[in-house]
Every structure is written in structure tokens, then in C-alpha cells.
Homo-oligomer: 351 residues x 2
Amino acid sequence: MTRKPTIKDVARLAGVGPMTVSRLLNQSAGVSEEAAARIYSAIAQLGYRPNEMARALRGQKSSTIGIIVPYLYDPFFAMCAHAVSTVAREKGYSVILTTSDEDPELEYVEAQSMLRRHVDGLIVIPSSQDGTRLCLPEFQSTHIVALDRPLPDRRFSSIVVENRAGAERAVTHLITAHGHRRIAVAALDERLYTFRARVDGYAQAMRQAGLEPLPVILCPAPDQAAANLHRVLRGPNTPTAIFTTNGLTTRFIFKALVDSGTRIPEDLALVAFDDFDLAELLEPQLSVIRQPAMKMGSTAANLLFDRMGDGAQVSQGVRLVLPVEWVPRRSCGCNPSAVAELVPQSHRQAV
Amino acid sequence: MTRKPTIKDVARLAGVGPMTVSRLLNQSAGVSEEAAARIYSAIAQLGYRPNEMARALRGQKSSTIGIIVPYLYDPFFAMCAHAVSTVAREKGYSVILTTSDEDPELEYVEAQSMLRRHVDGLIVIPSSQDGTRLCLPEFQSTHIVALDRPLPDRRFSSIVVENRAGAERAVTHLITAHGHRRIAVAALDERLYTFRARVDGYAQAMRQAGLEPLPVILCPAPDQAAANLHRVLRGPNTPTAIFTTNGLTTRFIFKALVDSGTRIPEDLALVAFDDFDLAELLEPQLSVIRQPAMKMGSTAANLLFDRMGDGAQVSQGVRLVLPVEWVPRRSCGCNPSAVAELVPQSHRQAV
DNA sequence: ATTGTTTGTGTTAACGTTTTCATCGTCTCA
DNA sequence: TGAGACGATGAAAACGTTAACACAAACAAT
């Protein structure tokens, strides 16, 4: 295993100085045809690849961005990460990805690790309730874009969706279209921004209809979700509908309902925040608020690259609020005619 | 925005030489209590963070590993990536993640990018049918572990699951337990290792029972999956069961079946390779071969770190074959008594 | 008192690039 | 024929760190 070839090796073999090689590889101006040919041949012969570490050290630019997500087992986060990765690849950047496990402490540690690695920019789905750590002066000189949840500091840009409005839309639908009056709400957590905003939207919809919001059913894990749900279902004033505030919550609650034989929407209607692949394949199909995960990720990445381009000045951030889409299906009690129409006649059988 | 503090700034402020700072930060041996205190104070005051680029350049070690996955929108891959990220974080390594879109050319380009970034090791879910590109001499000096699909070169380690045996198990179940004789098989692609191996297992099971394997139903995308499936279902000798060879295939086929009103398992029984969160919440619950995605990812990462530790010698690779688990549920035609028992009496209602 | 060991620290050079400046022809124009 | 311009190239320094060595002071053993 011989040492990796350096630019000097290439230069020596091609009979030129290292600078000529560097020039050819970068601006490709001011190098004679003849020398270029020899250099290319030397590069191929040696299998030379420039060392990005050295390049970054010298040039003060790593061509790398970081992304911190809570975890990848929520398809929503995975989608965001995928989109960021794709945009970065197209721009010739590498992505350092790390997971925070929704732990502010870990998030902070990992963000620092990103700084040590001199990322040119950072996309983070903040786990800290208020993002205080990321607003510390040590992050001052780095471009940061918050995704899915905003950061309080106006210096950072953020991409979020219409959480309140979306939640309100879904819950209002339950009230006005289906006459529900006792509607429960389920969330993974009470402090995280997205849940707060969506629960707010829920409460808003309830109050607007003169109804009392119910306490949040906490769903940190499947079994606790089931326990907490059943406690409510067994109690007095059983809700007739439930609003779940993200993908995991929906899964946990849906499983608990299926396991207990609860009929949806007859016994309990369900609307969910965050659409996912199989939502329309469940029985019943889930009525959801769809958030544009891919678009959120790519928007965040593009925004970051824009900012990085702006003379490296970390200036005032922008706040983008992306629209969500209400997708009524069956779990809310609707029976969209569209569904029936979609079934090809040739294969139509029992329902 | 002032320049980032360097080790020299710290040294100056603490009234020592840069080496003393470096020593303290690395081995923390041979530095007087007094100096250490001043250095720590200087570090805190300046907000100093060592530059990993410089460190990597000098030390010939980047504390970084790379991972190349086809994409993140298959939860299986996302899980693998998540596990790798977690292990790496625990070992103090950063992860550079990139997606290949299942394109061998892109995979090659990205692998080269990893080399330029001097990753200490690389985990790849190979998209190239035979992985030839990754076996080129240019990758000789890098530790590579293949995940989910093996690489032909014996130099690399690989982690795969019992693809053939798992597929055989599932298909044999359809034959012996439920008497199916015309069983179809669906795959995303015909060339990728995992699909070849699973289709092989299917064919093996069929032949063992004296049955003729049917041509593969290709499912590169949802609409093509539906079209190809319906072509088969409309033809003569309609299959009575189908084996889907990965998560995406299962989704596509399941959707096509639901959309066309086909009853599972009455009209067409279904068994799938790769379990996923909602598989047990679909109607009917899916009978699957479960692969340990998390374990695969963490095993790959641990294996990589082991190899990296071995004196940096790239030696003969090992091949690990992880077991899969047959999880019979309802879509194959079974009616596991376990399911009924799991339903709490209190909430038991219609089925 | 001499030698050796330990302890704390500084100096130099190197990692592989690229930026900046200098050099040396060759060409053009008066 | 010389002044200037241009084109191709090289040399030196720098990016921030650490390995390798060197050194001085303090202390123990002979």
C-alpha cells in the first residue's frame, strides 16, 4: 500500500511545477496545451485525486454542509435529509449528517462538531425547545438554516409549514363537516415547536366553535400512546374524534386503535398531520394534512446556498412558511367520491 | 465577524507555546496544572475549537466515515443509515452521507468524492450490479464495507441477510401451507443483487415443489407496477399468490391491488420481503420476511471500525450473513391465533 | 560534583494545497 | 532596437495542526 499520490508527484511526473498542476485543475487558464496533456496523463497514471482537506485548510472553504436531524426513522425527516443531500450533490457539496435523538444536549455537541469540521453551512431540525444553544455567539459566523422548526434568533433563516393553520383546518373539518364536539389531540411531546403549534391550531379551532380543548394525549412511545389513549377512551366524556400531530403519533395511535378493535371513523374519527406513503392504503384511508417534505428539504438547502453565496456575510435571516395541503380521505368520516371513481371498473370487486 | 481563533491565539493568551495547548488537548500529559488552567481559561474566553481539517491533514486521519445509500425514502435504507450514524457518533466519528439514486455512475463519482475527502472508511450499499467500479485499484487503500449487497472483491467485507433462504421460506409457506401453485414474484429491478437473490430463492422454492417459476413482474415505479401486475392478472393462468421482494415493491403492488379491489388473500395471497412499521396495520396484515435493518447498519459500522483499528491494514474481508425472521400474519392466508389473542377483550368489536 | 532521569516547554518541519509574487521568454508596436 | 505587454511557469509563504526533537530546570542516584 503505497502513499497516496500528491500534487507534487503529478508535477514531477509531468515535468512541471505543482502550481501548474493546481492551475490546470482549478481555473484551467494559463497552462500550455502541451503541459496540460502531460499533466492529465500523469494524473491518470498515478490515480491522483486532490486532497480536499488540504484544499479546505488553505482555501478556508470546505465545500461541506452539515445537517442535524432528530432521527431517520421518521420518513418525514428521512425525506428532508434526502432532499438536502440531493441538492448538495448537485452543487458539488458533501453533506455531514448526524442525528440528535431529539436531545438538545446532543444537538449542541454535534453542532459544535460541525463547526470543528468547518462546514460552510448548517441545516438543523432543532430539538431544543427554544434553540437557545444554537443562538450562542459561537455559532455567529456560520450560516444556519432551521428546518421544520424555527430558531428564535432572527439571524437564522427558517423553513416551516403552516402548522397552526393546517391543524386548524383539519380540526375545523371534523367539527363543521362531521359535527364532532369532543375531539382529542395526540402529540409525541409537549414542548417541541411543531407540536405546540399544531396543538395551538387544534385549540384555536375548538374555541372558535365554542368547544373546550381536551388535554393532550402524550405518545412518546407505542405502549404509552396506547395506555394514554385508552385511559381517555375509558373515561367520561369519551371523545368522538382524534387529531394526531405527526407521523409517529399517527402510527402509534392508529395501532392502538386497531389493536383494540376500535372502528374508524365510526367509533372514533381520525385526522392526522403529515401524510405518508401508506396513509392511503390503510383501512380506512387516512385523512391528513400533507406537508411537502422534499420541498422543505430542498428549499432549506437552496436557501442555505444562497446565503453562503452572499459574500459569506451572515445577515438577517428570512422565514419561509410553506403551505400544507388538506387531503380528506376516509378516516375523518368523509367518503370522497373521488375514491370510488379511481377504482378501475375491470377489477372492481367487493369493498 | 472576526477571524476564528486558532491554537496560536490560545497559546498567546495563555502565555505558552502552541505545542503546550496541543498537548493538553490531546494527551493531556506533561502539562503543568497551572498552565492547563490558563489554557482552559483562554480556550473558553476565545471560544476556541480545534480545526479538524488541519488536524486531519497533519495526522492523516479524518475521523470521518462515508456512507453511500441508494436513497433515503425507503425506510429500510433510512434505518441502515440511522444505525451507522449512531455508532459513528458514539465512536467520535462524523458521517458523510450521500445518495446514489441506485445509479452506478453516480455511486462511483460519490465514492471518489469520499476518497478526496479522505474518509477513514466507507460503507456502501452498492448499486452497481457487480460493484466493479468500487473494486478498482483506486479504492485499494480504503476500508470499505458493503451493506445489504456484497461486493465481488474478497478484499471487502460485506453484511447481507439470508436473501435466498428467506425468500424460499416465504414462498414455500405459500405452497405447502396454503396450496398455491401459481405464484408470481415482483421486483424493482432484475439486476440488483438483492432482487436476484430473492427471486432465486423464489424459483428454488417453486422448483422444489415441481412448479414452474413465473417471469418477474417489474415494478420500477407505482404506475408501471400496476400496469405490469394487471397485465399478468388479466392473462391466462392467473397467479393465486404473489411474492414481493422489497419494501417499495410491496407498497407498489399493495396499492395496485387495493386500487383494483383485489381481495387479499382471497383473490391473491401476498408475502413480502422486508417488514415495515405499518405492515401489521394494513388490511390485511402483511406476512413478511423481516430483516434486521438497524442491526445490519450497526454491524456494518462496527465491522468497519474493527478493520480500521487493525493497524490500518486493508486485509481479507469477512462476509456476514444475518438471519431473517419469518413473520406470518394474514396476507398469506394464515389467521394466526396470536392476532386474536392480542385484542383486548374490553375493546373487541367487529372484525 | 557528576551523571542520569524526569518534567515542562519551545522549535522546527511537515501534512497537501493555493495565493501572491517573481521570473523568463516571446511577441508587438513604435 | 528597445519598451512594454503578454503568456507560461516557478518559488515562497501560508492555512492550523501535530510529530519529532531539543532544551532547560529540578531532582535523584552514584
